[in-house]
Symmetry: C2
Subunit: 127 residues, 2 copies
DNA sequence: TTCACTGTATCGCTACAACGATACAGTTGG
DNA sequence: CCAACTGTATCGTTGTAGCGATACAGTGAA
């Protein structure tokens, strides 16, 4: 379950943890009101500092997946699928906006990106 | 020409400079074999450290826009439009790949991104 | 009430990016 | 040849991200 954590990855530890938990929650591997492993439990399981786990949990909380209750634990929140979809759409928009901004500084237009996106999703050329 | 440089922007100074020069070169504001302003000239014009300008020039060199000649200056390179197009496509691909990788850690699929991209380029909903 | 568990807050360390200061080295016109 | 210009190399400073260590504070079952 949590074996795919790589300290040498360029992806920060807390992001790897958060990513793993995001799919776990989304796929109902944890159900609403169910507690996640405690900060220390998960930390020692992953051989990582508790603060690192906290950082991951905080992200999930900010995103509305879980709620951290001081002294009690960290619990999965019930979120209607529709709201979750909206959130996903919003995030997608934000990511794409930033992409376009970054690209424009490289002299790359949104149209360029759109066609690259097509190629990437449909696997048009050289995979 | 170079008045749009903002030290308080989250975008690094050297990137702002590089971005400005990229469009200048691409739009033939500087012609092939023509020298860019010297590192010190541009630095003092922008009230910025020469090293910062160097950093920008280096980026442009890495991208094949210009050539820095020790003791002589920094000169615009002649690049066939076709090669430049290829380069742009390649960069677009790379940017999109990274976007997809980042997004997947947020539980966002390439399809989500593609539709967000559509909305963004075509201005579908809420602008 | 107490104790063993929760999360929280506050440090410090390390690595790295951004930027600047300054000395070094090549080119070129007079 | 040499002076005045070019880019280059090497530092130091500052800010910040990632991660860890450790002390603080709330909760809940015995």
């Amino acid at each position: 379950m949590f074996d795919e954590i790589d300290p040498r990855s360029p992806v920060p530890l807390y992001e790897q943890i958060a990513a793993r938990l995001r799919v776990a929650v989304a796929s109902s591997e944890y159900r609403p009101d169910e507690p996640l492993p405690s900060v220390r439990q998960l930390a020692s399981l992953l051989r990582v500092n508790p603060s690192t786990v906290v950082q991951a949990y905080r992200d999930l909380e900010r995103e509305g997946f879980v709620e951290m209750r001081h002294g009690a634990g960290t619990f999965v929140l019930e979120v209607p699928a529709s709201r979750r979809d909206d959130e996903r759409r919003k995030q997608s928009r934000e990511l794409v906006r930033r992409l376009i901004a970054d690209a424009s500084r490289l002299g790359i237009s949104a149209a360029d990106l759109a066609s690259a996106m097509d190629a990437e999703t449909k696997g048009d050329t050289d995979e």
